[in-house]
């Protein structure tokens, strides 16, 4: 009969897929989506994989779908950017077995390099149908419906949960399912659809296939608009007055939260599908003077409603993300309250929020490498070398990117996955006289870094690529990758041999143990002086992961700062920056916080006065 469990929204999505009979699930880790794919490890008989990147993941999912089984691709918004090339083809071909793509957004960029609304890519650009869940329970239900509708319409469906859905925790119904009823793989050629190429289609007057399939997609879009008129995810709630509130996804949730604090009951239109159901929206607009659309993060639905008003000659104030309330950042119930008050100044707010006065400056807290992390010693030495040779360091995504903040301020750039290597190549060919470095993590390297490395070598560039290899995707919570030697299930897997890879593409490969300070420095020095592209692989398992598993990284040693010798020069703080090293401004001395220190002893080599031992 099933049961109810208190779980994270992401696991509700996994469960929805499992109950729907998903056979293949592929993705690449990225907050806030990561746990969705991790959740599959608990279920038997499903192939789940951490693919090298999101485009590969979507290719895997599509291949499974065309083999007639249900599949899922999981990614965060940046990953959807990577997968977009394929999205812009599978939208034309359609699918066979149900295919659902999860594109999780991180409004405010709590754990991202940017903030973006992936509905623009998957809907406005690729014209695919989107479900935008307002909470975790709905997300699960949407996944199940998406599989049914995906097969019914032959379209790939997108679920776009935002971080507050992914990382909410709620009581979720776990229903039973019958594995025997799930379709088995059965490939059927459908060359008119699956061969995307500019060949003529005689039955359509000789137009080319891309145009013919585009026409198919446009017709599908109209079909979906009709279909969503009756969707359970779109509904109207009656209220008083001529101001209507439109809630999309989590926007609906914040409207409901705010409604409890408003002295007036406004009519609400919940819209959690794209395309929007035109008739339902027109019905809602009928007796209104203005509507406020609450959505994450861009004015997507707002613009669709404006378009609808224009098409139907409806004079209506359509307010929303385009500037009526803040056009950036995460939506909150307070933003709903503020926007409603602005649109309807007469309205009373029950228990108006009054900020507590706090007469104290609150310091910011940036993240840094964990105490004991092998990256700290590595970054310390890269900084020494970069300083000595006046190098420019291009950065990438991952734990090592904390080296770009204070105190190290080592990396000069952080863009998207794998960008460091290509950008360093560009700086070199621009004629930059200073030596160029790139720093990239292992998971990022296998994601999209190796193309840049092959290119750097092929173009006969010159740079030092520092590969921070901790054998896992640490930033998102330790997911394995092609260099880990294990798969998603923790089973043994093939591992890329970086020496052979380097040899094959013509770069020199060096290895360093990041806990060996002297050798690390010498190796980096050697690399910066050699011709061509050098790949310096710094191998040291993730300390956070390994120490939990009981792995011994170093011989623990008692470390203390000799208060007589310390002259407060701050070198250990500025160039090493371990959180266990505390500087006391009034005494102008450094001491070690016993509660934080893990006794790796790395800091002892940093102090040139020998005060740390």
């Amino acid at each position: 009969m099933g049961e109810k469990k208190y779980v994270m929204g992401n696991f509700a999505i996994t469960r929805g897929a499992v109950e729907s009979g998903v056979q293949v699930a592929a993705g690449y880790p990225g907050t806030p989506s990561t746990e969705i794919l991790e959740g599959f490890a608990e279920y038997q008989g499903i192939h789940a994989e951490w693919s090298c990147n999101e485009k590969v993941a979507l290719e895997v999912a599509l291949g499974a779908s065309l083999s007639n089984v249900r599949s899922m691709a999981v990614m965060k918004h940046n990953g959807t950017n990577v997968a977009t090339d394929l999205l812009m083809h599978l939208n034309f071909t359609g699918i066979s077995g149900g295919l659902v793509v999860i594109s999780a957004d991180d409004p405010a960029g709590h754990s991202s390099q940017n903030e973006e609304d992936s509905r623009i890519l998957v809907h406005t650009y690729a014209n695919l149908p989107v479900f935008d869940p307002s909470n975790a329970i709905e997300a699960k239900s949407m996944v199940k419906d998406a599989y049914e509708l995906s097969e019914k319409t032959e379209m790939c469906f997108i679920l776009r949960p935002v971080m507050r859905v992914c990382h909410s925790r709620a009581v979720i119904p776990f229903e039973d399912y019958d594995e025997a009823s799930f379709p088995k793989a059965q490939w059927r050629d459908d060359r008119d659809r699956y061969i995307m190429s500019g060949v003529e289609v005689p039955e359509l007057g000789g137009i080319k296939r891309p145009q013919a399939r585009h026409r198919w997609l446009n017709n599908k879009y109209k079909e979906l608009q009709e279909l969503f008129e009756g969707s359970p995810y779109n509904h109207v709630e009656d209220g008083e007055g001529n101001i209507g509130l439109v809630g999309c996804g989590i926007g609906y949730t914040y409207i409901k939260e705010a409604a409890g604090m408003l002295g007036k009951k406004y009519p609400i239109l919940k819209l959690c599908t794209l395309p929007i159901p035109k008739k339902k929206v027109l019905g809602f607009l009928q007796d209104k003077e203005k509507v406020i659309v609450f959505e994450e993060l861009e004015p997507v639905v707002e613009n669709l409603i404006k378009q609808l008003c224009q098409e139907n000659r409806i004079p209506m104030e359509v307010l929303g993300r385009s500037g009526f309330y803040p056009p950036d950042g995460e939506l909150t119930a307070q933003m709903v309250l503020d926007a409603v008050k602005k649109a309807d100044p007469q309205v009373k707010v029950i228990e108006e929020f009054q900020a507590r006065k706090i007469d104290i400056e609150i310091p910011v807290r940036t993240r840094t490498q964990c105490v004991g992390c092998s990256y700290r010693g590595l970054l310390y030495n890269v900084k020494r070398i970069a300083r000595r040779y006046k190098g420019i360091v291009f950065g990438d995504i991952g734990c090592h990117d904390a080296g770009s903040f204070k105190p190290l301020e080592l990396q000069s750039t952080i863009y998207c996955m794998g960008a460091s290597v290509g950008m360093a190549t560009g700086a070199f060919f621009a004629g930059e006289k200073r030596p160029v470095f790139s720093i990239i993590g292992d998971s990022t390297f296998f994601h999209l870094g190796l193309n840049g490395l092959i290119n750097a070598s092929y173009q006969n560039g010159k740079q030092v690529v520092v590969l921070c290899d901790n054998a896992t995707t640490a930033m998102t919570g330790f997911q394995p990758h092609a260099g880990s030697g294990i798969n998603l299930y923790g089973e043994s897997a093939k591992k890329v041999d970086l020496d052979k890879f380097g040899e094959a593409i013509g770069v020199s490969v060096h290895h360093v143990d990041p806990y060996d300070n002297k050798r690390t420095y010498e190796t980096l020095k050697e690399a910066v002086q050699e011709e061509g592209v050098s790949l310096v692989v710094s191998s040291g398992a993730c300390y956070l992961k390994g120490s939990r598993e009981g792995i011994k990284f170093f011989e623990p040693r008692e470390v203390h700062v000799d208060q007589e010798r310390c002259n407060g020069c701050m070198v250990c703080i500025n160039d090493f920056g371990c959180p266990a090293l505390i500087y006391e401004a009034d005494k102008k001395k450094v001491h070690i916080d016993e509660l934080t220190c893990v006794h790796c002893g790395m800091c002892a080599v940093v102090c040139k006065r020998g005060a740390i031992s």
Partner: protein, 194 residues
């Protein structure tokens, strides 16, 4: 009834375990529970905030709106201060007086306020609450990782909604075996602090 709780701390302080205990407590009483946490950089010494909402009515937002929090648990002093806006007028706080310097305070760019300044500011801003040395207590018991459980012990003592012995049963139920004995000691120790 409703109980909106916020736990503010630094990654690695164990706020998730504390959240799980309190949620389990509410679920066993047949109440609605909804929560969320900001965990992005949690494993790298970043700020962590866990929101937990308990009610006999439907709950919509997983985030506790500013000024609506009934309880604010601060596992670290400045993370507590950072989230003080969440506390309702009639809400109360439990602050573990414990300072984890930041990169910026270490560098002298920011200044970490002194304990006296923190206590004064908290008392000025909030009417009701408890300032306790939970981490010091946990260290005395042998492991600072038990700060979270010490704080649960305080909560069980001072909050009528959370029955002391019932919360203890849940701590007992969901503690990993190797920490069970220590956790129960830490829970008891929390009661002694207030």
């Amino acid at each position: 009834m409703k109980k909106d709780i916020l736990i503010a701390g630094v990654g690695g302080q164990g706020s998730l375990f504390a959240t799980n205990v309190l949620c389990q407590y509410a679920l066993e009483r047949g109440l609605n529970v909804l929560g969320t946490e900001t965990i992005g950089a949690a494993q790298r010494g970043g700020s962590v905030v866990s929101h937990m909402r308990i009610s006999d009515q439907p709950i919509y937002s997983p985030l506790v709106p500013p000024g609506r929090g009934d309880v604010l648990l601060g596992m670290e002093s400045i993370e507590f201060l950072r989230n003080i806006k969440i506390l309702a007028r009639n809400g109360y706080y439990i602050l573990n007086l414990y300072s984890l310097p930041t990169v910026y305070t270490n560098l002298g760019i920011d200044r970490y306020p002194s304990e006296d300044e923190i206590v004064a500011a908290v008392k000025e801003a909030c009417e009701k609450g408890y300032i306790i040395p939970a981490t010091v207590k946990a260290a005395e018991l042998g492991n600072t990782q038990m700060t979270n459980v010490v704080m649960l012990g305080v909560l069980g003592k001072v909050d009528d909604f959370f029955e002391y012995s019932e919360v203890k049963k849940i701590v007992e139920k969901i503690s990993p075996k190797k920490f069970l004995k220590e956790n129960l000691m830490a829970y008891e120790a929390g009661r002694e602090l207030v």
